[in-house]
């Protein structure tokens, strides 16, 4: 089921198994038949840990979504609420419990808080007069969820907002806890590097937690050599840029949620010959995307412009394999062919799916302005042009005509905010006049209530008026080589291929740390927010790795506040570079893109479009 988790450098399936064990134990604690009432948000993350079959084995007979009013009827002994610790959810639970009580007094209620119990929530339940109705109140610590063979996510959407807007560092505590669990399973990580306030906090907590374990040394041979903690606000620019890898574009355009994407169904319709396609599917096509699918693992990190070639190459291989049947003469040969058939069929349907997705994306991104006049692609191209101008430092101190036009034609607000924030970040704050102008145009067009959102973006540092006349972005860009003129999209030789020219700042920092080391970029590090630091954790004698000649080192890079698919692709690219000598495992609070990120910073994002 989750074999792809164990193929990587680090077997992340161990972590998944531990989480499953934990879940089974809780379910068995509530003996007898049960129904689970889900906080809908949690179903996605749980899907990465367990399927329904596991729940069923432990007598879960029904599943409901948490809604106010009366619970649906179900002939079960236990009702278990799986919820995040949120006050508004407690009110709904209270309502459920009240309306249920009168009907079935024999049912038993339980709550499983994910990822932590909360005093405030239990207090709320008490105020509502239902706290005593619960037999079990428990917590399920779902800190780091294995997402893929080299990727862990906390699926903690509000982490950035909490850390930088509300200054609530609870997510950092969970991060430190998650890292402790990871070290318990994979050994103490001897070296810790970090950049940013949050990184510093997490490292401090880890070191303190380790002191509390003192006396009982971890005897596991360390799997990770280095941990790098990076604050998202050290690099605010990267998530704002449009990702140009295959996986990144799927996420930008359709949104990947907990490893799944929903796509418009038209291109996936199975057209049978001679049959009029009158009943086209109307339900979106849902696909799971991870390295368990061989073809996807091969193409997801490529620049989109290289995907077409890869797909056609694959198509030839598959056709050739199917042609083999003509050569199968003997019974043995036929048998062999038949035995490979399922694998080939799977490869073919995988190819069909990704060809369809690539077509969908192509319709939107096709970059030839004069030949293809589909207006979606014009918009995509224009948007990209402006982004690249900003990233190379062109006219970032003036009102941009394209942004102005986009506002005039009421393009989605998030698109506008992404561009304006990017201009602000690339100019180290906008000139007051420019800032005021954008602000007024946005409020007039999208509604004055967005004052709140604009203030949030200002607090988060994404959109601000210039405070000093010195713009240090050009220095940062030049020193870290953030812009590469001749990015090779087909056969990349540098990470800048993931944004067709822009090399993500966060990944440059990672790359420089591995070689030649951060000492070479002290100046730039000082310009970026927050402290940078290095810590060492003592290993017991005998656990020091004896490295084989040419053996790669392993670094865990933890992005506090989110990471994009393009950044992940860039790290995978570095892992695969022959002379890099380093393999990267990636962890994050949440997989983000510019849109989901900005949305998480908005007040009332649901009323964003007029």
């Amino acid at each position: 089921m989750a074999a792809h988790l164990s193929y990587g450098r680090v077997n992340l399936n161990i972590l998944r198994e531990a989480a499953r064990k934990e879940l089974r134990e809780f379910l068995d604690k509530c003996s007898g038949s049960k129904a689970i009432v889900w906080d809908e948000y949690l179903t996605g993350p749980f899907g990465l840990i367990a399927q329904y079959s596991l729940l069923k084995e432990h007598e879960v007979e029904k599943m409901f979504t948490l809604k106010s009013g009366r619970l649906p009827s179900a002939d079960v002994k236990n009702i278990i609420f799986f919820v995040r610790p949120r006050l508004e959810l407690m009110d709904i639970i209270a309502e459920n419990v009240f309306s249920e009580d009168k009907l079935h007094s024999s049912r038993e209620f339980h709550i499983l808080f994910v990822p932590r119990r909360s005093m405030l929530c239990e207090q709320r339940l008490k105020e509502q007069g239902v706290l005593g109705s619960f037999i079990n109140i428990d917590e399920y610590i779902l800190d780091l969820i294995p997402y893929d063979g080299d990727l862990l996510s906390m699926e903690y959407e509000s982490a950035f907002r909490e850390c930088y807007l509300e200054n609530d560092q609870t997510s950092l505590y969970h991060t430190a806890k998650g890292l402790m669990t990871l070290q318990a399973l994979y050994g103490t990580i001897p070296q810790i590097y970090g950049k940013g306030e949050c990184a510093r906090h997490v490292a401090n907590m880890m070191l303190r937690m380790k002191r509390e374990f003192a006396g009982s040394q971890n005897q596991i041979l360390p799997v990770f050599d280095t941990l790098l903690l990076l604050d998202r606000n050290v690099d605010l620019l990267t998530p704002l840029a449009t990702q140009l890898t295959y996986e990144g574009l799927i996420d930008e355009i359709y949104g990947i949620n907990n490893g799944y994407v929903k796509l418009p169904p038209e291109k996936f319709a199975q057209k049978k010959q001679g049959e009029a396609s009158k009943d086209l599917p109307t339900e979106p096509k849902k696909l799971q995307l991870n390295s368990a699918e061989e073809l996807y693992a091969e193409i997801r990190d490529k620049n989109f412009n290289a995907v077409g070639a890869a797909l056609s190459k694959k198509a030839k291989i598959i056709s050739a394999a199917f042609e083999e049947r003509h050569n199968a003469k003997t019974v043995g040969e036929i048998k062999q062919f038949v035995s490979q058939l399922p694998h080939m069929q799977a490869a073919r349907s995988s190819l069909a799916n990704h060809t369809s997705i690539a077509e969908l994306i192509k319709d939107i991104t096709s970059t030839n302005l004069y030949l293809s006049l589909v207006s979606a692609s014009e918009a995509f191209f224009d948007n990209l042009t402006v982004e690249q101008e900003f990233m190379t430092g062109v006219d970032t101190d003036k009102v941009n005509t394209y942004i102005e036009d986009c506002i005039a034609q009421k393009d989605p607000l998030i698109k506008i905010l992404r561009l304006v924030c990017m201009q602000s970040v690339c100019n180290n704050g906008l000139k007051q006049k420019v800032f005021d102008y954008y602000k007024r145009e946005i409020l007039q067009t999208y509604g004055y209530e967005h004052i709140l959102t604009l203030n949030n973006l200002e607090k988060g540092g994404l959109l601000k008026p210039q405070t000093s006349s010195r713009n240090n972005y050009p220095t940062i860009r030049k020193t870290l080589k953030l812009w590469m003129e001749d990015a090779n999209e087909q056969n990349p030789n540098d990470i800048s291929y993931v944004y067709s020219g822009y090399a993500p700042l966060s990944i440059r920092l990672t790359q420089v740390l591995a070689r030649p080391g951060w000492r070479s970029i002290e100046e730039v590090l000082k310009m970026l927010p927050g402290p940078h630091f290095e810590e060492r954790q003592q290993l017991p004698a005998g656990l020091h790795k004896k490295r084989q000649q040419g053996e790669n080192r392993t670094t865990l890079v933890f992005f506090l506040g989110g990471v994009t698919y393009a950044e992940i692709a860039a790290l995978r690219f570095l892992s695969q570079m022959e002379d890099s000598g380093m393999e990267y495992i990636i962890a994050t609070t949440k997989l983000i893109n510019g849109t989901t990120w900005i949305k998480s910073l908005m007040d009332r994002p649901e009323c964003q479009t007029p």
Partner: protein
């Protein structure tokens, strides 16, 4: 986790330490108690102790006259809750003997009592010790956990135990200094859950403002907590005391989103005008108020006009939605659509709207263009571009690129003759041709190729037009024209 804030008294420690039963509290409300069923029988023997443990009564006895606590809504709820409790007969015979009097600090009224004496799964915790939920069996317990049942914890240990959802006693932190020490440890633990709890539990309201100011993290958590519990009044009071005026203004302003009635919303926005916004935001909020005020007037008038059935435009294009709470530019569009010709004196006149809200020329132009194009009022569209120079000639001028004009017109399904006129005004030849091709404006394409003296392109284009059409004839004439010096 709050359930685990079990209060242990010194003389009971021996019991807790020696007993095979670990810490346990139960709920003292009858119905809840009955629910705990057979599994609870195992611990019945310690009920009385627990009952004693519940020193709720002490709370009642505390005189809190010394400190003003009035403004904290928590205390109101708290009092109500404790009254209720003491009014009732205890569910079990209560043994009062030897209960040491916990001398409460009279320096202030602690919020901690709010969280005492409740159930939850202190019970299940105690049996399975499941409060320490760990992923993997390999994990070892930190040494501090071996001291689980000793109540004399340092502030650091207390915070640590709270993080694990374990029983702690916050009562022993009596002096302000101790409490602040505890608070500071919780802050350095970065666990918002614990910080909020410690803040609520240990600090009295009066010292809260003063002490929290120097502890920004705890303060933010407390503010966040008040936001979540929607304790608006206390929150505003707190922010005011801290001088965070802009935050107050924004927070107050945000409230308008939850007011559905437009008149109430308008009045509320009016009351926001005096809030201490930054100067820029202040102007925006003023505009917001003015806009809604105006929308209410326009809406009332237009609804009546529509019902009256005498105004033609409302009959021809019935309004699809109310204009209330729409953004400014949408309102301008509406006014350009229904009230285009009104004199500048009316609230609904587009010119008046433009003036009042200082709408930029470009925005006004785009909006008016779209609205008039939607109505297919091509004369109005034409007039928008027309400016006379001093010789009296008219020429077309636009604050917007003509390719964008074409785009807007085309979206409003303008006929080819209209489009053609504007496509022809696009400056960039290449862009002009691509637009002309898109909109099938043959004349423009042919003329542009002629002007570019591009014979090859013209030849190529001949293949694309219909045989025997006017266009083909025109191309042939041009190709045969000896006056033109073709570049290829």
């Amino acid at each position: 986790m709050l359930t685990s804030l079990l209060l242990l008294k010194p003389d009971e420690e021996d019991y807790w330490n020696s007993s095979k039963f670990k810490a346990f509290t139960f709920d003292d409300e009858d119905d809840e108690f009955s629910r705990l069923k057979e599994s609870k029988q195992a611990v019945n023997s310690i009920r009385r102790l627990v009952e004693e443990d519940d020193d709720e009564d002490d709370v009642e006895k505390v005189s809190w006259s010394g400190e003003p606590v009035g403004s904290i809504s928590w205390s109101v709820r708290e009092t109500a809750a404790s009254n209720q409790r003491t009014d009732r007969e205890p569910a079990f015979p209560k043994i009062n003997a030897d209960t040491p009097t916990v001398s409460r600090s009279h320096s202030g009224y602690s919020l901690s009592s709010l969280f005492k004496g409740e159930t939850g799964d202190q019970f299940s915790d105690s049996l399975s010790d499941s409060s320490v939920r760990l992923y993997a069996p390999e994990l070892r317990k930190p040494k501090s956990e071996y001291k689980d049942y000793v109540s004399d914890w340092s502030p650091e240990e207390t915070v640590h135990r709270m993080q694990q959802g374990k029983a702690v006693s916050l009562e022993k932190f009596r002096s302000l200094q101790d409490k602040l020490l505890l608070l500071d440890f919780s802050i350095s633990a970065h666990d918002g859950n614990v910080i909020t709890a410690v803040t609520l539990f240990t600090i009295t309201f009066t010292v809260l403002f003063r002490e929290l100011e120097s502890r920004q993290t705890a303060l933010r958590h407390f503010i966040h907590y008040l936001t979540e519990t929607r304790d608006q009044r206390l929150l505003l009071e707190l922010l005011r005391a801290l001088g965070r005026t802009e935050d107050i203004a924004l927070l107050q302003y945000k409230e308008h989103l939850s007011i559905a009635d437009e008149n109430k919303r308008r009045d509320f926005l009016k009351s926001c005008l005096s809030l201490p916004f930054s100067p820029e935001d202040s102007a925006h909020v003023q505009d917001h108020y003015t806009l809604l005020e105006r929308q209410i007037i326009i809406e009332a008038t237009d609804r009546q006009a529509e019902r009256g059935g005498k105004v033609e435009i409302f009959q021809k294009f019935p309004r699809r939605a109310s204009i209330l709470n729409m953004p400014l530019i949408t309102t301008l569009y509406y006014c350009c659509f229904y009230h285009y010709t009104e004199s500048e004196g009316t609230y609904s006149s587009p010119l008046n709207v433009r003036q009042t809200f200082r709408i930029s020329e470009k925005q006004f132009f785009v909006t008016a263009l779209a609205a008039r194009a939607k109505l297919k009022a091509w004369v109005d569209v034409d007039a928008l571009f027309t400016s006379r120079n001093w010789l009296g000639f008219t020429r077309k001028k636009s604050p917007l690129g003509f390719h964008r004009v074409v785009d807007i017109l085309q979206k409003n399904s303008a006929p080819t003759q209209v489009l053609q006129e504007y496509v022809g005004l696009v400056d960039d030849a290449e862009l002009r041709i691509s637009l002309a091709q898109k909109h099938k404006c043959h004349d423009i394409i042919i003329n542009t190729y002629r002007d570019l003296k591009d014979r090859q392109q013209l030849l190529g284009y001949r293949g694309k037009v219909e045989r025997g059409s006017v266009e083909e004839r025109k191309i042939n004439e041009l190709l045969d024209n000896p006056q033109i010096r073709w570049k290829n």
